[in-house]
Amino acid sequence: MDDIEFKQMWASLNEKQETTLKVNQKIIENASGLRVKSLLNSMKPTKLFLIIIGILWVLFLDTVIINTFGEVSAFFTISAIIQVLLTKLSIGIYLYQIIMIQQVDISQPITVAQEKLLNLKSSTLWVARILWLQLPVWSTFYLHPALFTTENLLWLIFQAIATFSLLYLSIWLFININFKNKEKKWFKWLFDNNEWNPVIKSMELIDDLKEFKN
């Protein structure tokens, strides 16, 4: 099998398909409507739903913080502020990435466009890293200065263990959620689902792309 034979075989595919393909005029007639429709429909309903829930949650927490400021425990206010800031940051990064992915010029050379797309896609992992950081505040929002007495020593020890464990876990996850750990069991357990698989796949393709360019 030589080069010419390969090309002749491929050309035979071309010749036959030219006779079997017809372009429906409707594609062209409907073309002007494609821009808006494709852009609006490019997000999975579940993702859109999660973003809406996230925004509603942030609005709710903002309202609670403003209306209870100075009237409730400082632990609650500070915990809520940390939680709402991290959630806002995650939503912001996620929306920014979605918009940037839409704006990548796909008429650029394959390696250039794919590198941009894959880097943007894989950086979605930052959203997960940031969201895990809020873990410790779920163990502090209910605290009150009146609880810090010697009678509550045992409870305080448990509380401290719980808060510092969650703090350690959140920092550990923030540092360790990265592509290098993609083969680890805990990583697969966290990210082996339909929502995250495209992100993990993007990371794997980055390696292929690097190899291809060299």
């Binding site: 398909q17 409707k26 594609i27 050379p109 390696t111």
Partner: protein
């Protein structure tokens, strides 16, 4: 770009270069339903990218870039499948190929071997089989001409070895 210019350019692409859509979709998608969706997505992306097209650029080179970029990004196919079925009202059977390979077992083998390559090597070998010169392949893929030569040689060797094993 004016709407009428965009329409007429889109029409030209679909009439004169429809084979590009078909062959790339066939190379990247074995499943027929997925392939229909991929074809639709390719058309949507070509249409959306047209305002950025500059007439001094060779149309087929530009088109290969867009269509290959869409095909390689097709791991997001679930998103595409869910959303685009109702966007374009066109008879998809127009794009369903006849069983060409049945009449040529070697072509069937070639397609199978190509499908086993990774997404970027697939793009390279398809461009080579489309008789693009190394300069144009380099322009489409964004790698150096010498890199194209080395890779084409390597993939061809791989294909030849596979063919010789089969025969």
């Amino acid at each position: 770009m004016e709407q009428t210019t965009q329409n007429s350019l889109f029409e030209t692409i679909l009439n004169e270069h429809k084979g590009i859509f078909f062959k790339i979709a066939k190379t990247y998608c074995k499943n027929e339903d997925d392939r229909k969706d991929l074809l639709q997505e390719m058309m949507i992306q070509v249409w959306q990218s047209l305002p950025r097209y500059k007439s001094d650029f060779k149309l087929s080179t530009w088109l290969y870039r867009v269509v290959l970029n869409v095909a390689i990004s097709y791991y997001r196919k679930q998103v595409i499948r869910q959303n685009h079925h109702q966007i374009i009202d066109f008879s998809i059977q127009d794009f369903v190929d006849t069983p060409i390979s049945e009449s040529n077992p070697n072509l069937e083998l070639l397609e199978t071997f190509i499908s086993e390559l990774n997404d970027l090597d697939k793009a390279l070998i398809v461009l080579y089989l489309e008789d693009k010169n190394h300069g144009e392949i380099s322009e489409i893929l964004g790698i150096s001409v010498s890199n194209v030569s080395t890779k084409v040689l390597r993939i061809k060797e791989k294909l030849k070895q596979k063919f010789s094993k089969q025969q």
